[in-house]
């Protein structure tokens, strides 16, 4: 047990209580939007004087709102799919091969995690305006693939560390090609870590504002960008409904990630 607090039950309870206070402190500002979202369509007020679903109705009937929601979901799903296609084989190759310059390659893949997002956004803005990718869905997707790939790779590489290389060796001795080994030996064992990486990538893409703000316009606006501009220009109470929806979605995904991680731990 932690020597600082000893093992006394009281000390432990105090620590637990303190932790909960912190959680609440962090959570309340985000949760306050939940009651607001069930308020009147007229204005932002807390606590709401009457209960209604008017804000949600407004969200789903205004094509500017739910259109950007659909756009965001589309971008997130496409991003996740592409990033998986890129990150999983890359992680496998980096973890298992001994090709020269491996460290450099790994560094290159991890770069987007280290560069400040605002710098990345600016750089991509300049590059994509050259290529004519500004205000296109493809542009945001490419940028998000870049941002999320390292996270999937980290998750997959840690999964690979838990899986036994001897299994791949034995498969190879039994005559399996590299391809067969990847699909029949490696991939099935990586299921949970791939799923964690994918959920994480989905979540990141779904609420990414900075880069998307640089790259999107009226044609390709994602939900977070739409929210951000609406805060600046109109401050409509619909924002509360959108935030609540996003929070619930994120919460569900986070719970999914936790459940998967439990599962991997139980396996190893």
């Amino acid at each position: 047990m932690n020597p600082l607090f000893g093992s006394s039950a009281i000390a432990r309870r105090v620590v637990t209580a303190a932790a909960w206070v912190c959680y609440v402190f962090l959570l309340v500002p985000s949760l306050i939007v939940v009651p607001i979202s069930f308020g009147n369509a007229g204005q932002i007020e807390f606590p709401p004087r009457e209960f209604s679903l008017a804000l949600y109705r407004q969200f789903f009937t205004d094509p500017a709102w739910w259109g950007s929601m659909v756009q965001s979901l589309f971008v997130a799903v496409t991003t996740t799919a592409l990033a998986l296609l890129l990150a999983v084989p890359a992680a496998y190759a980096l973890a298992r091969s001994n090709l020269p310059g491996r460290g450099l390659l790994r560094g290159l893949f991890m770069m987007p995690m280290l560069v400040p997002v605002i710098v990345l956004g600016l750089g991509l803005y300049l590059q994509f305006s050259d290529w004519g990718l500004l205000d296109t869905t493809l542009g945001v997707v490419l940028a998000h693939v870049m941002l999320t790939t390292p996270y999937i790779m980290i998750s997959v590489m840690s999964g690979l560390q838990h899986s036994d290389v001897a299994l791949e060796t034995v498969a190879s001795i039994m005559g399996a090609s590299r391809r067969t080994i990847f699909f029949r030996v490696v991939l099935p064992q990586l299921g949970p870590s791939i799923a964690v990486g994918a959920l994480f990538a989905f979540l990141m893409s779904l609420d990414e504002v900075v880069v998307a703000y640089f790259l999107t316009g009226t044609d390709s606006m994602t939900l977070p960008v739409k929210m951000y501009s609406s805060i600046r220009w109109e401050l409509t109470p619909v924002l509360a409904a959108v935030s609540t929806l996003l929070t619930v979605l994120s919460l569900l995904i986070a719970l999914g990630i936790i459940a998967l991680q439990r599962k991997t731990e139980a396996q190893s």
């Binding site: 036994d164 001897a166 299994l167 060796t169 034995v170 498969a171 190879s172 001795i173 039994m174 005559g175 399996a176 090609s177 067969t180 029949r184 030996v185 099935p188 064992q189 396996q267």
Partner: protein
């Protein structure tokens, strides 16, 4: 003792015995020619020449770090030799990728696919070979019967005991009938009783299926029990190779003598060589020893080997014997082992059959341990290290 007489018979009188060094290359399953493996400056294997005949059971025996696993991995193609050539089934396989060598391998930690059932694990190599589904089912079922594990076909490996897992991993090899099965200490993780059972099982499979096997162990008893031939490794070289009884009864070096069985080694100097007998002068006296096959000259150092079971405690005088005080006697079931301390401080081990009602020698008795001249063996002195 039938063991001894069999070994004394000339090789030509025994038509089934395989003498690989003279076997024609065509019948060799694996041939290593001057294979060297270096890791940087360190030489893990030095110019290994080894030939394994079809259907033979060869054991690589040696202390930790002697290069056994390295040799196996070279044959499997997991690592490439620094120089030399590897021929598998008459085909140069030196640069051949692992998955094209047509071998099988059994690991100490089983290496079964955790996400597949026992059935799927065994079916995997057959699927890789593109066999029809019905044929796969038939073959897997057959081999599961062979190892008597049909009732666990639907289980995952982690739901099996260690012994069962190792049998499955053996079955997974046998099922596709590889040219050669490599085993790296396959029984190392099992307890003694199970290990002995599995040794017999592997021997049985080898006899029934006639698959060539190369088996790594550092357990001398395992090597003696299982092998047609033992290849004793020492520091990246082959120290000696031959059938188990040859290695036991005719070790050629002090290392071989010490590694297999227990031994009394008495160092000395050759005094005279005449009529096929060498006279060795030692700190314990002068002893006649049968002259070895290699030439020896008077004045050179040599070591006398006498196995403890070839020594007897006796009162009868004779040319070969030492006197000492019994320091300790330990009972090993059917045999008893006496530790004699001689005048110059050397310890000599005598092993006798333990018969009931016999008035045995007691501790602190001063006794004479003797051996017949033909049981002594003259070895070259160990290289100075």
């Amino acid at each position: 003792m039938t063991f001894l007489s069999a070994s004394a018979a000339p090789a030509s009188a025994n038509p089934v015995s395989v003498v690989p060094t003279v076997a024609p290359a065509a019948s060799a399953m694996v041939e290593l020619r001057a294979v060297t493996k270096r890791y940087g400056q360190f030489e893990a294997l030095h110019r290994i020449d080894l030939s394994i005949a079809k259907g033979e059971f060869v054991t690589l025996l040696g202390p930790s770090g002697s290069g056994k696993t390295t040799l196996l991995n070279l044959i499997a193609g997991m690592i490439m030799p620094s120089s030399g050539q590897i021929v598998i089934d008459g085909r140069d396989a030196t640069g051949l990728p692992t998955n094209q060598r047509g071998l099988g391998m059994v690991f100490q930690n089983y290496a079964l696919m955790p996400h597949m059932t026992v059935f799927e694990n065994i079916a995997f190599p057959l699927q890789v070979r593109g066999l029809a589904r019905s044929e796969i089912k038939r073959k897997v079922t057959d081999v599961l019967d062979l190892i008597q594990l049909g009732h666990v076909a639907g289980r995952r490996p982690r739901e099996l005991s260690g012994g069962q897992q190792q049998r499955v991993s053996l079955a997974r090899c046998i099922v596709y009938n590889p040219a050669l099965i490599l085993m790296d200490e396959p029984l190392g993780a099992l307890d003694k009783k199970l290990r002995e059972q599995m040794q017999l099982e592997i021997k049985r499979l080898h006899a029934e299926l006639g698959i060539t096997m190369l088996y790594v162990t550092h357990d001398q008893d395992e090597a003696l029990t299982m092998s047609d031939r033992i290849v004793l490794m020492n520091g990246g070289r082959i120290e000696q190779e031959g059938p188990p009884d040859t290695l036991y009864f005719k070790p050629e070096t002090v290392f071989s003598a010490e590694f297999i069985g227990s031994s009394n080694l008495i160092p000395g100097e050759v005094e005279a060589v005449e009529n096929g007998t060498v006279t060795l002068r030692t700190a314990l006296g002068r002893f006649p020893v049968p002259a070895p096959d290699r030439p020896v000259r008077a004045g050179e150092p040599a070591v006398l080997l006498v196995r403890p079971e070839n020594m007897v405690l006796t009162d009868r005088p004779g040319p070969t014997g030492v006197t000492g005080r019994i320091e300790d006697s330990i009972l090993l079931g059917g045999v008893v082992r006496h530790f004699l301390r001689c005048a110059d401080g050397t310890t000599v081990i005598v092993q006798e059959l333990n018969q009931p009602g016999r008035a045995g020698a007691r501790r602190d008795d001063t006794v004479r341990a003797a051996w017949s001249v033909e049981h002594g063996r003259l070895l070259p002195p160990p290289p100075a290290r």
